[in-house]
Symmetry: C2
Subunit: 336 residues, 2 copies
């Protein structure tokens, strides 16, 4: 009996699963960031090799028994031309593990959807560092909304919230924005809470703490502003924080609403830290989706590995029904 | 009689002026971007050398007659340690022109203020690609508000407006934002108005034009989003555009208001394309400043060369009064 290999290659971790044709997960491996776009080709290929090698070893199977390989990965990477160096690096990393099946690249958003349901139609909204919604029909992504990255979109994402937090904090210290308790929290998180002097004069026409804060923040990559998102949820009574959360929630509601097609019903799968850790945001977003006439259930998922496995099984010719999905979910949970 | 050399080193152009002790400009030169932070050290040094060389040549003076040199430059560059490679590159470029006076670095914001007035107290608000306000007392910058750069501040700047425009256009095409006439204008400005197909499906779950637009925009440096700012002013009847302009105007009003100290009166100098080309924005901002009890006049300036000259004269020991300021402004205008 032939086996399938599924990989969920995310920005911060890569997970690999070996499955048999009944959907049972028999091996699991995990390594660091596996998306060539965010981690670079070499690191991504190394993570992939480690995760796949560990999955094969824990399954105790000969790599030659793998009949097909499916890799779920964020957006752009799924449109790579065949001769792209990233594709070659992936093929080589698999080859070093003894896997020479070739591989199918699938969208990480579709994997998130499939991690929550075996239904072939439905919707997913993911709001982690980025934010995007998809409409799924017949097991395929039919329409994507947002996921346009930190500069042009990702409305309501962890980045957008963290960015708004840090801009509000800078404006507070600068005296042109409202005072907010987020300022003390952000300064403490950066070890700058000892710099309390906010006086200015001809020798130093800006508060010293502002110089330190701005230098520290520009030394980070812009997407790292997402780390400040939690502070928006820490102070629900602060008008500035509440406005940031409300704006993000409205943006996510607009994103999922724009994904709806009256002909497509099915579940709504929600993923990503902004939705998983903020019941209020998730329920408001689900409400907006139901206001578009949707009647399916809402499912929260914390990552896409099970969905990558569903896609791998389908790519390997297995029909994933309730029984297979239950076996997959249960056996995978047992391995982690 | 000793002469002074003034340089206004901006992100897109560098201007140099030779002045005598009466404030008369006798030589003028102009070259490309001269800020090492935005143009790189080599290009900046070359621009500086060209502008200074041309100014000396047109003044027909021996470089040894220059008694002091003052360079106005954007924010961070004025805090350079003496042994910074940028400082060495500037000194070397001056040396190649035969100028070995050493040089004083002054803030570009203070130069903008001094381009509009010879008063020693007052305020300036500059909103071009970036945005910042200063309070000036005794000829020195006493307090700076904003100027925190595109990621953390520059509220109400050309970047902030252009960024909001492009996000609104992406959201429009994406179906999660309101339709806006700015979309057609932006697409035409990028040569993408022939890509009209907005249908999606499992083969291409995003509109093709959105892929093209996003690829084009991410290929630019973020600050280049400022080029889309004018479209916000092109459609005053579009609610999306109006909201962007209103938000920027309110942000600039907050910035200048935060600069006010009850003890400091004097003129308000306004500069930068957002204020110069939008009478409505400039008047609303000036109104907010007057609402803080300020009584001085409002002056619009289009660049800081005359102000760099004022600072250079003062650094050279000349007291700049109404007569000197008039001679400087008139003679400089005659040379350009």
């Amino acid at each position: 009996m032939s086996l399938v290999l599924a990989v969920d290659a995310g920005g911060t971790s890569t997970r690999a699963v070996v499955l048999d044709e009944t959907g049972r997960a028999t091996g699991y491996g995990r390594a660091g960031g596996g998306n060539p776009l965010s981690s670079g080709i070499e690191v991504a290929a190394e993570s992939l090799g480690t995760a796949v090698g560990d999955a094969l070893a824990s399954a105790e199977v000969d790599p030659s028994r793998i009949g097909s390989t499916t890799i779920a990965m964020a957006g752009a990477a799924t449109h790579l031309p065949a001769d792209d160096p990233r594709n070659r690096a992936i093929a080589e990393a698999l080859g070093r593990c003894g896997v020479d099946t070739g591989f199918a690249l699938r969208s990480d958003l579709l994997a998130m959807f499939c991690a929550g349901t075996f239904a072939l139609d439905g919707y997913a909204l993911v709001a982690g560092t980025g934010a995007a919604a998809i409409r799924v029909r017949g097991g395929q992504t039919e329409h994507v909304v947002d996921g346009m990255g930190w500069l042009l979109g990702d409305a309501g994402s962890g980045f957008s919230i963290g960015h708004a937090v840090i801009r509000a904090v800078v404006a507070d210290i600068d005296g042109r924005g409202a005072a907010t308790p987020m300022t003390a929290a952000v300064l403490a998180s950066l070890g700058l809470d000892d710099v309390v002097d906010r006086s200015t004069g001809t020798e130093a026409p800006r508060p010293p703490v502002l110089h330190r804060l701005v230098d520290d923040l520009y030394a980070m990559r812009p997407v790292r502003m997402a780390r400040f998102a939690p502070f928006a949820f820490t102070f629900p009574d602060d008008p500035t924080a509440r406005q940031i959360v409300d704006a993000a929630t409205a943006a996510l509601a607009a994103t999922i609403s724009a994904a709806v097609d009256p002909e497509v019903d099915g579940p709504l799968v929600l993923g990503g830290s902004v939705l998983l850790r903020q019941e209020q945001v998730a329920s408001t977003v689900a409400e907006a989706w139901r206001a578009q006439g949707r009647t399916g259930p809402t499912v929260l998922v914390d990552e896409g590995t099970a969905g990558a496995a569903v896609l791998a099984l389908r790519d390997g010719g297995v029909s994933v029904d309730s029984e297979v999905f239950a076996r997959l979910s249960g056996s995978l949970a047992g391995l982690r």
